[in-house]
């Protein structure tokens, strides 16, 4: 009787778990299916299948320019975010001092503050900066990149500090006592240890920036566009296999990036 209860419990547990996983993946399945429909209207069952919509993507200027803008912004924001976040993580993971936990919390804040509030705040900040300095900040590429860099820092701090807590300080001291100078020690011991964390941070930061919608909505110049905004605006108008094909490309790109990253650092261990 008791054993039956456990077996039934296990079946219910696994059943619910895999149904939930299926539910999470369901929208990706539907959008991928639509990308191959022969007819333009998303009606079921499909009249046939074709690859022609992938060719139609290039005809839509918004998708092409949006993709390039998103790519440039995400690369620049990731580099800036890593340049600021990695050194800070080195200190935060190693040293405790007055206010260190407050600084840690502050650096994690940008992914906790809701996107839409972050967007409005940075928008009014850029307005005030433009008034104060006369520089064209609002709607500039620099303004957009700076906003996105803010999203990369929390991921960097979280993942790099996590990878450093596992490193024994003695390894660095051993290197130094064997005659390595500070720079060599940093390069050969510390950097080697945090590399998985940095790779994961680069991936998460890049994706957070590339997929960001709410902040970009406020910060892009009129007429300028990022890929998520292009997809949103298209979908507000209609859904058809062309936008589905764009989505499939995005899913493939991000899936590919995840698989490559997974070779350096097991995602199951960092998320």
């Amino acid at each position: 009787m008791m054993l039956d209860g456990r077996i039934f419990g296990r079946m219910a547990l696994f059943g619910t778990a895999y149904l939930t996983l299926g539910f999470i993946l369901l929208p990706l399945f539907f959008v991928t299916w639509l990308a191959f429909f022969a007819q333009e209207i998303p009606s079921f069952p499909p009249e046939g299948y074709t690859l022609k919509w992938f060719g139609a993507i290039a005809d839509n200027r918004n998708f092409a320019t949006g993709f390039l803008t998103s790519l440039q912004v995400a690369i620049a924001a990731t580099l800036i975010g890593l340049a600021l976040g990695v050194p800070a993580s080195l200190i935060l993971a190693r040293q405790t001092f007055l206010g260190s936990s407050a600084i840690n919390q502050l650096l994690l804040l940008p992914i906790v503050v809701p996107g839409i509030v972050l967007g409005t705040s940075i928008y009014v900040f850029q307005i005030e900066t433009e008034i104060a300095t006369g520089l064209p900040v609002l709607g500039s590429m620099g303004g957009l990149v700076a906003g996105h860099a803010l999203l990369v820092i929390p991921w960097t701090v979280r993942l790099v500090t996590a990878s450093l807590t596992g490193l024994d300080r003695a390894a660095e001291e051993a290197a130094q006592s064997l005659g390595a100078d500070q720079w060599t020690t940093f390069r050969r011991v510390t950097l080697a240890a945090i590399r998985p964390g940095v790779v994961a941070a680069a991936l998460f930061g890049f994706v957070a920036s590339f997929g960001n919608l709410e902040m970009s909505l406020f910060l892009v110049a009129p007429g300028s566009i990022t890929l998520p905004i292009a997809i949103l605006q298209y979908l507000e108008w209609k859904i058809d296999p062309t936008v589905a094909a764009v989505s499939v490309l995005q899913i493939a790109l991000i899936g590919g990036a995840m698989i490559i990253t997974d070779r350096y650092v097991k995602l199951a261990r960092v998320v």
């Binding site: 996983l21 998303p42 040293q95 940008p110 705040s121 009014v124 820092i153 406020f218 995840m258 199951a268």
Partner: protein
């Protein structure tokens, strides 16, 4: 500033430490805290049509929000949707998180990637998937009509149901990953101990697993609730223009009506409501766990 505790190097070490830490700290402080302060100041300004924003020091924008039934209804709808989504995420997310945390399968990494992938793909793309399923000629209606279960298509698109389903799917990975990391930290032996003492699975879960997983449950609930309160793409695409929630309201007030003071006030109402309800829910969860 930096008073190093575990480093005898003294002066020089502290200077290096400060040099490494200060740029990021300044960047986030100036890029995040200052903007929020300016936003708060904007919300106390006045709005005159034609002149946009007028410097003032008034709570008129907040009064306007809390005295207009339309805005109160938007706030209430947002809270209702968020509570429903968060509860569903917890109920359906826990079993998946548990299975992911306890599995010894060689495919564990793949399973985790399948949970993370949708998270990375973006909300608009996932909303597109639901639009394919929910449309009047979409998968759900075609299937049900094909089976003869309904004769006219169901109205699923542009309803609260569609938005709730969409947000649950968006937020589930966050809940699952948060719970998984906490469950992995719970010693499997305590579960086995409960079983060997004769506890049925549900009693084990209630008396052993849930109390130990409480920090994860709290963190997951808080995270998914914040995300649901502030959802943008999902309500815009699945709810349509008539289904107003707070996120889209902030954007339209700001960017389309150019009413910055009122938009700023709506932002602050949203942020405060999220914060208060988050605190309330964590109190509630801690209490019911005792």
């Amino acid at each position: 500033m930096a008073i190093a505790r575990d480093r005898p190097a003294g002066e020089q070490g502290s200077f290096t430490a400060a040099g490494l830490l200060v740029p990021a700290t300044l960047f986030v402080a100036i890029g995040l805290l200052v903007p929020i302060a300016i936003l708060l100041r904007y919300s106390l300004n006045a709005f005159e049509p034609g002149k946009l924003m007028v410097d003032a020091f008034t709570i008129a924008n907040y009064v306007k929000f809390f005295t207009d039934p339309f805005y109160l209804q938007v706030l209430w709808r947002t809270i209702r949707v968020s509570v429903a989504c968060t509860a569903a995420c917890l109920i359906f997310g826990f079993p998946l998180a548990y299975v992911l945390a306890r599995t010894r399968s060689p495919y564990k990494n793949l399973l985790v990637m399948l949970v993370v992938l949708p998270l990375f793909v973006g909300n608009a793309v996932r909303a597109a998937g639901w639009m394919v399923a929910f449309g009047s000629k979409g998968f759900v209606n075609s299937t049900l009509m094909g089976m003869g279960m309904i004769s006219t298509p169901l109205e699923i698109m542009y309803t609260e149901t569609a938005v709730v389903i969409g947000i649950i799917a968006v937020n589930l990975p966050f809940m699952v990953l948060t719970l998984q990391s906490v469950i992995e930290g719970i010693d499997r032996n305590v579960e086995e101990a409960a079983f060997s003492l004769g506890a049925p699975p549900m009693a084990m879960a209630r008396r052993v697993l849930f109390p130990l997983a409480l920090p994860g449950i709290l963190a997951g609930v808080i995270l998914t609730f914040i995300l649901a309160m502030n959802a943008y793409a999902t309500p815009v695409l699945l709810g349509g223009p008539k289904f107003q929630t707070m996120g889209p309201l902030v954007f339209s007030t700001f960017a389309q009506q150019n009413n910055w003071p009122f938009g700023a006030a709506v932002s602050f109402v949203l942020m405060t409501a999220t914060l208060v309800l988050t605190l309330l829910s964590s109190l509630l969860i801690r209490r019911s766990a005792r």
